[in-house]
């Protein structure tokens, strides 16, 4: 039985990017805020100490920063005819844990979605017609917001994170050297682009010769010492190559722990409760008002924390699971396509071309998760899809993340996996290989969704989240198309061997693909197909806000963190500007 604690103004579930942003913004209003984090307190100086941070076995192979599956995992199946089984070890994706969340071990790539993304369904029907849309068998939705509403919040997030890059479009003026497909920005990136290693440089030169417009991948690994608007200072990226899957010892990679929590934790009206796992949001008898949360602390005691305002801002998977466990919204039914909680689960369609050169040295150990060059001609609806038989595309990039050798010693297909020939091939190809990636869209279809598992439970006895997913036909055709295109670029770069790996079915947990899961608690303008309005306020429960990638109706060909940050600032802005003055439904 949960012991009831004294009420507070605001509880925030999750102290990753979204939760830390909301907690900070509401603490700024003078509200008493309690932030709950199921993992430990993490801190750069101690947890990501430079003396022990560059450790591939610990951080990459053994997944030190990831959520322990023993604490919480998901079950997976490709379709409803199968029985879902638990992910006993993370393979396909890497949920985080602790303050900073997945924002500690992310790559730092910080995109804004392009304007068409926010009204994708309407856009595709306008351009290609209702019939072409129907033929796609997709269940796309508009976001209920638009670029103009999102832009200021993207700008705010980039300022907090110190995002480094080169604008492609400032107030409608296309900028030389930037990504010309960007929506119109209110201003330049807070910091200039990072320096580029040889791989991205060769890619950009070749792509430009082929008529593409290469740009600097927007990076929240900062390019110079930077003090953000909260007064928190970051250090310049050193291209150390221990980045994605690692915490940054240089205070260079933006995370809530390097940009927000150092300021937030100093506020007397904020409390962080770590190792404290929230199990559900409590509702009053009417079901129209959230009254707080139930959580278990590190000692195993369970508590009820009442609050006036409940913000759920955990990782996408836990956001959706908490809403299902709390009975918020109608669970999605894949047979009828009705119901909203668990709806439109999407992923990312990750494609790759590995390039082997005999006569080049890329020094692949130099780099970082967001160090690189990209092109955007193959992304989203930046090219004419008439007659192609698919919608969508991906951002094409060369981002050498580092090449620690347990995971980064590729050899050409056909090489033995062990023995003297294998060793010789590892040595021969280590310095002379690089890859071109295409991080591509994942569009919704009726059978892909999230629900509670009927069999498997977490250590507290609550059902695990069940993921039912496979790549739609649309996305498989897209994957083949974009991978052929990036292979062409690899050939033009002069690679001796180009190994193309378009994503194929079935979706599996065997190797890492992407941690960019989206959907399940969608943003929109229609309560019958969405869970939150454009302010991230839950339909019918006005004092419950659910913030994160769970709000995306489908996933474009971009990394989602920039948008997660922008949505968090958007929700905070609506609460501060509108809700606190007149608590209630902001959209009737």
């Amino acid at each position: 039985m949960a012991t009831k604690l004294p009420a507070t103004d605001v509880v925030v579930v999750g102290l990753g990017w979204a939760g830390s942003i909301l907690a900070h913004e509401l603490a700024e209003e003078g509200l008493n805020v309690i932030g709950f984090e199921r993992g430990p307190w993490r801190d750069t100086a101690q947890d990501f100490n430079i003396a022990s941070a560059p450790d591939e076995l610990r951080y990459s192979a053994r997944q030190e920063l990831m959520l322990r599956t023993r604490q919480n995992t998901v079950t997976m199946r490709n379709n409803t005819s199968q029985t879902a089984l638990p992910m006993r070890e993370w393979g396909s994706f890497h949920p985080g844990n602790g303050t900073g969340g997945a924002g500690n071990h992310w790559a730092g790539i910080t995109y804004r979605y392009d304007p068409s993304t926010f009204r994708l369904k309407s856009h595709l029907i306008e351009r290609y017609g209702q019939q072409a849309y129907n033929d796609s068998n997709l269940t796309l939705q508009d976001w209920g917001t638009d670029w103009d509403e999102m832009e200021p919040h993207y700008a705010k997030f980039e300022a907090i994170a110190g995002t480094s890059g080169k604008a492609g479009n400032i107030k409608g003026e296309i900028q030389e050297g930037g990504n010309p497909f960007e929506g119109p920005r209110s201003g330049e990136y807070p910091n200039p682009p990072l320096k580029q290693p040889y791989g991205p440089t060769l890619f950009a030169k070749t792509a430009a010769e082929m008529g593409y417009k290469p740009y600097y991948v927007p990076s929240s690994l900062v390019s110079r010492a930077y003090t953000n608007p909260l007064g928190v200072t970051m250090g310049p990226c050193t291209y150390c190559g221990f980045c994605t899957n690692y915490g940054c010892a240089n205070y260079s990679k933006a995370s809530a722990i390097t940009t927000i929590l150092p300021a937030l934790i100093r506020k007397p009206n904020f409390i962080a409760k770590t190792n404290s796992e929230v199990h559900r949001v409590t509702l009053d008898g009417s079901g129209k008002r959230a009254t707080g949360v139930i959580y278990t602390d590190a000692s195993g005691r369970t508590w009820e924390q009442p609050a006036e305002l409940v913000i759920v801002a955990a990782f996408i998977l836990e956001n959706v699971r908490l809403m299902l466990l709390s009975g918020v919204g109608t669970p999605y039914d894949p047979r009828t396509g009705k119901g909203t909680t668990g709806r439109n689960y999407c992923y990312q369609t990750a494609n790759n071309a590995q390039l082997f050169f005999k006569d080049k040295n890329f020094n692949p150990f130099i780099g970082g998760g967001a160090v690189g060059m990209g092109i955007d001609e193959l992304n989203n609806d930046n090219f004419d899809h008439s007659g192609l038989g698919f919608f969508g595309g991906g951002s094409t990039r060369v981002t050498p993340i580092g090449a620690a050798p347990i995971g980064n010693t590729p050899v050409p297909p056909g090489t033995p996996k062990w023995g003297g020939q294998w060793k010789r091939a590892v040595k021969e190809h280590y310095l002379g290989n690089m890859s071109v990636g295409c991080e591509a869209s994942s569009y919704a279809q009726q059978g892909n969704y999230l629900s509670l598992d009927p069999t498997y439970k977490d250590p507290h006895g609550y059902p695990l989240l069940r993921m039912t997913f496979d790549f739609p036909d649309n996305d498989m055709r897209m994957a083949q198309y974009v991978t052929d295109k990036i292979g062409e670029i690899g050939e033009r770069m002069g690679a001796d061997q180009v190994v193309k790996t378009p994503r194929t079915r079935p979706w599996n947990n065997l190797s890492y693909q992407s941690s960019h899961m989206t959907g399940g608690f969608l943003m929109g303008s229609d309560p019958s197909t969405s869970s939150v309005n454009k302010h991230l306020q839950t339909w019918g429960i006005p004092n419950l806000f659910v913030v994160g990638a769970s709000a995306a109706p489908q996933n474009p060909g971009f990394n989602p963190t920039g948008t997660v940050g922008a949505l968090a600032y958007k929700a905070a802005d609506a609460i501060r500007r509108l809700y606190l003055k007149n608590p209630g439904e902001m959209i009737g």
Partner: protein, 253 residues
């Protein structure tokens, strides 16, 4: 780098570097990971950090029996044979690495969800075996020994290199039937752990003298390439560093 590794008593150069890097920027709020509630400015201790979970080195096998260890040493020396490029897997410490890993959290899957039921599942659903690595090795090595005795009237370690390679290939292809844990899965696990031991930081017991890093040109735990990032298509010949230091750092006194 365990806290008791001999070369690291007192304030090392690495700690000094770490501290100056940290104090150059804002000192973030911090406290012990086990604490529950944080407000305002939690305690912070200089030099306190969260070291890697390495098992202490020593001469004794911690998980393997002497016979098992001899077999594993023979296997890793075929998976990564000694040649003109490097020493072999045995001398590089791959068997010691695996032994220490099996004795730690990896060996029992202490961090993983191991609740029943264990369904067979589809290949896409990944590893669903109820056996943890300690069992996978114990059972696999026993069945390998049984196979070698019945086919060759000798232990694996007593066979010549060609015979050993043939058996390893047969395991890899799943052509030898194991009762308790599939032979192909056993082979894949041993191969993965052997490569980890060859390439991981030497603080975990393998990769002796950073041999694999020197072989391929990986500079290890260096943490700053700002001066090198724009040196395109050039051989840098950087001497590698371990998180336990480098051979040129370890002079005492």
């Amino acid at each position: 780098m365990s806290n008791d590794s001999g070369a690291r008593t007192g304030v090392t150069r690495r700690q000094v570097l770490a501290t100056s890097a940290a104090t150059a920027f804002v000192a973030a709020a911090s406290s012990k990971a086990s604490a529950l509630t944080f407000t305002q400015l939690p305690e912070w201790s200089p030099f306190a950090h969260n070291p890697p979970p390495t098992a202490p080195p020593g001469d004794h096998w911690q998980f393997f029996t002497a016979d098992e260890a001899a077999t594993i040493e023979a296997i890793v020396d075929r998976l990564i044979p000694a040649d003109d490029l490097s020493i072999g897997g045995k001398e590089a410490g791959c068997a010691v690495f695996i032994d220490r890993q099996l004795q730690g959290f990896f060996g029992t899957f202490a961090r993983l969800y191991m609740e029943p039921p264990f369904g067979k599942g589809t290949p896409a659903q990944g590893d669903q075996s109820p056996l943890v690595p300690q069992q996978r090795y114990r059972f696999g090595l026993a069945e390998l020994e049984q196979y070698c005795q019945s086919e060759h009237q000798a232990s694996f370690k007593e066979l010549n290199g060609d015979q050993q390679d043939q058996i390893l290939s047969a395991l890899e292809q799943g052509e030898i039937h194991f009762e308790k844990y599939p032979s192909a899965d056993f082979f894949a696990l041993v191969l993965q752990n052997t490569k980890e031991g060859f390439f991981a930081d030497p603080v975990y017991g393998g990769n002796k003298d950073m041999v694999s890093w020197k072989m391929i040109g990986f500079p290890g735990a260096r943490y700053d390439y700002r001066d090198y990032v724009e040196k395109h298509n050039q051989t840098l010949d950087l001497e590698p560093l371990s998180i336990g230091g480098g051979t040129h750092w370890n002079h005492q006194g």
